[in-house]
Subunit: 317 residues, 2 copies
C-alpha cells in the first residue's frame, strides 16, 4: 500500500458509511502470486483464489486484481516485478514458491511502500510482510491425535505415515504423539510417505505385510490416504481398519459425507487459506479495519455432520 | 453459526460469484457484545464497532446486527442471553467484560451451534471460541523498545511507567527491556502508573524530583502519557525529554501528525480490533472463506509520516 493509498483507504472506510456509492471512486489493484496448480492441494488453492477474486470484484467495484500462477520460483519473481512495474499494484498477496528466492524480491516490493501479505510458506527473513496467513500445523496433528485418543481403546494398534522430512512434518507428528500419549494406543510404526500417493502405497504395503492387527491409520494427508486405501483394498483388509487423512480433498470429503466407515473424519488444512489472505488484504483497502498481523487458521475436524461445509464439488481438490 | 446456516453460508459464497443479487436472500444476524464506553480506549472501541456495523450493513443487505454495550459483567451475560433467545443470532462477537463470569455463558452459546468470536480479553477456558482476535502485547513492548534503541545514544537516561500489575503488563515490559538490551540506555526507574492519568502524573512528578537528567519516557499508554506530559510541563522540563505512549489516542496522534518534538511516535494497540473481529465474522457468513483461528494484530509504529492513517477525528479516543 503506497502512503497515498493508505490515506485514501482510511478516508474511504469512513466515507462509505455515509455514502457507499460515491466512495467507490477510489480504485485499488491487488496482485496475487501463487504456484501453478501442479498437484491436488495447489489445484484447490488456485480454485479458491479465483473464487475469492470473483466474489470481491462483484462486491467492491473499486477493486481490481492481477492473478499470476507460476511453475517455478524464477517465473514468480518475474510475475511480481511485472505487477509492480506495469500494473502499479497497491497490495501483493504471495504464496512463495520457495522461501529463499522470493525473499529479496518481496522485500523490494515492500520497500516501495506496497502492502505485502504472505501465505502459508514464510519468507526467509522475518518481519517483511504486513500480514501473514497460514494453517496451524501443531493444531493439525493435535486435532487428529485427539480423535484417535477419543475413538480407540487401550491396546489398539495404529500405523502412521509421515510427510517429507521437514520442520512442518515434525510439528504435526509431535503434536499428534502428544495428543495420544496416555491413551494406551500402540504406534506399531511410523514411516515417511512424503505426502505422495505412490510412496504412501509402498509404505502401507510394507506395514500390511509386517502387522496382522492394525485398527487405524493416520495417513496425515489426503494424497497419502488415497495410496493407503488402495494398499488396504488390494490386501483385502478394508473391513479391519479406518484411515484419517488431512487437508480436505473433495473425494475424501464426499466419502465422509456419505458415512463411509473406513473414512470417519478428516482434519482441515484448507487450500482456501488463500481466500482468507486475499479477503483480508482487500478489507484493508476498502475500509479502515486493521488487518496487519498474523492469522493462523485453526484445524477443524470434518465429520459426516459438517462435511457439506467443506465440500467444494467444483474445485479440483 | 447453526449447522443449517453454515451450509447456506457456503452455498452463498459460491452463488454470489455467479449472481450476487439473487444470493442476498439468505439472512444472518450477528450479535456484538462489548463493554460500555466508560473510558478512552473503550470509547474508541465502541466507535469502531458502530462504524464497522454501518459499513457492513451498507455492503451486505443480508446481514443484521444487534449491538449491546454493558457496564458490568452481569448485564453483558443478560444481553448475550437475550440475543440468543429473542434475536436468534447466527454468530456472537464478544469482548468479555471479565473473563471468569463470561466463560460459562459464552460456552452455552457455542454449545447451541452459534459461531463465537472472542476479542482482546480471553475466556477462562481455552478452545471455546471459533475465532480469537487480539492485539500483540509482546510486539507492543518490542516495537517501542526498538524505537528507543534506535533513537537514543549509549548512556542516555529513560524512565518507564508500567500498567496495572498483570501478565499483559509483564509481557509488554519484558519485550521492551529485551529490545533495549545492549543499547547502553540507562533505565533510571520503572513504576506502576496503572494505565491511569492521575497515577501516572504522580509517578512522573516523583521521577522528575529524583532525576535531573531524563532524555525520554516510555509511558506505554496514552492515558498515562497525558499525565506524564502534564507533570513535565508543570516542572518546566518539556524541552528536555520526549515521551512515547501507546494505543493511538486521537489527541496524541494529532500532535504526532503536527510534528510535535515532544511526541515523536506512538505504538498501536488498536481499539479498531473490534472492527477486525466483526468484519471477519461477517466474512465467514457471506462467503466460504475460512475465518476460524487466531488473529493477532501487529503493533505498528505511528510516525508523522503515517499518522493520518491512524487519526479518527470523529472517534472519542
Amino acid at each position: 500500500m503506497k502512503r497515498r493509498s493508505i490515506i485514501k483507504g482510511a478516508a474511504l472506510g469512513l466515507a462509505m458509511i455515509a455514502s457507499p456509492v460515491v466512495a467507490q471512486d477510489a480504485n485499488y489493484t491487488i496482485g496475487v502470486a501463487i504456484p501453478a496448480a501442479t498437484h491436488g492441494f495447489m489445484g484447490g488453492l488456485n480454485y479458491h483464489a479465483r473464487a475469492s477474486i470473483e466474489r470481491l470484484e462483484a462486491t467492491y467495484p473499486q477493486l481490481d486484481f492481477v492473478l499470476a500462477t507460476s511453475g517455478d520460483a524464477g517465473k514468480m519473481v518475474n510475475d511480481i516485478e511485472d505487477m509492480v512495474a506495469t500494473r502499479n499494484i497497491d497490495a501483493l498477496v504471495v504464496l512463495p514458491f520457495e522461501s529463499e528466492p522470493l525473499t529479496s524480491p518481496v522485500q523490494a516490493v515492500k520497500e516501495q511502500g506496497i502492502w505485502v501479505t504472505v501465505v502459508d510458506r514464510g519468507l526467509a527473513v522475518p518481519g517483511i510482510e504486513d500480514l501473514y496467513v497460514a494453517g496451524d500445523n501443531t493444531g493439525f496433528g493435535r486435532t487428529a491425535g485427539e480423535y484417535f485418543a477419543k475413538t480407540l481403546k487401550d491396546g489398539d494398534n495404529i500405523v502412521v505415515l509421515r510427510g517429507i522430512p521437514t520442520t512442518l512434518d515434525n510439528e504435526r507428528v509431535d503434536a499428534f504423539s502428544a495428543a495420544i500419549e496416555g491413551s494406551g494406543i500402540n504406534v506399531l510404526d511410523m514411516q515417511h510417505g512424503n505426502w505422495n500417493r505412490d510412496d504412501a502405497f509402498d509404505v502401507m504395503q510394507d506395514f500390511l505385510s509386517k502387522f496382522d492387527d492394525i485398527d487405524a491409520v493416520w495417513a496425515a494427508d489426503d494424497d497419502m490416504a488415497v495410496g493407503v486405501l488402495e494398499a488396504i483394498s488390494q490386501a483385502g483388509r478394508s473391513e479391519e481398519m479406518w484411515v484419517v487423512g488431512g487437508a480436505g480433498m473433495k473425494e475424501i470429503i464426499k466419502r465422509i459425507m456419505d458415512g463411509d466407515p473406513q473414512l470417519p473424519v478428516n482434519v482441515t488444512y484448507p487450500p482456501a487459506q488463500i481466500a482468507t489472505a486475499i479477503e483480508m488484504t482487500a478489507l484493508g483497502l476498502v475500509s479502515a479495519t486493521p488487518v496487519s498481523g498474523r492469522f493462523i487458521i485453526g484445524s477443524q475436524v470434518i465429520t459426516p455432520e459438517n462435511a457439506e461445509k467443506f465440500y467444494f464439488p467444483d474445485s479440483p481438490f
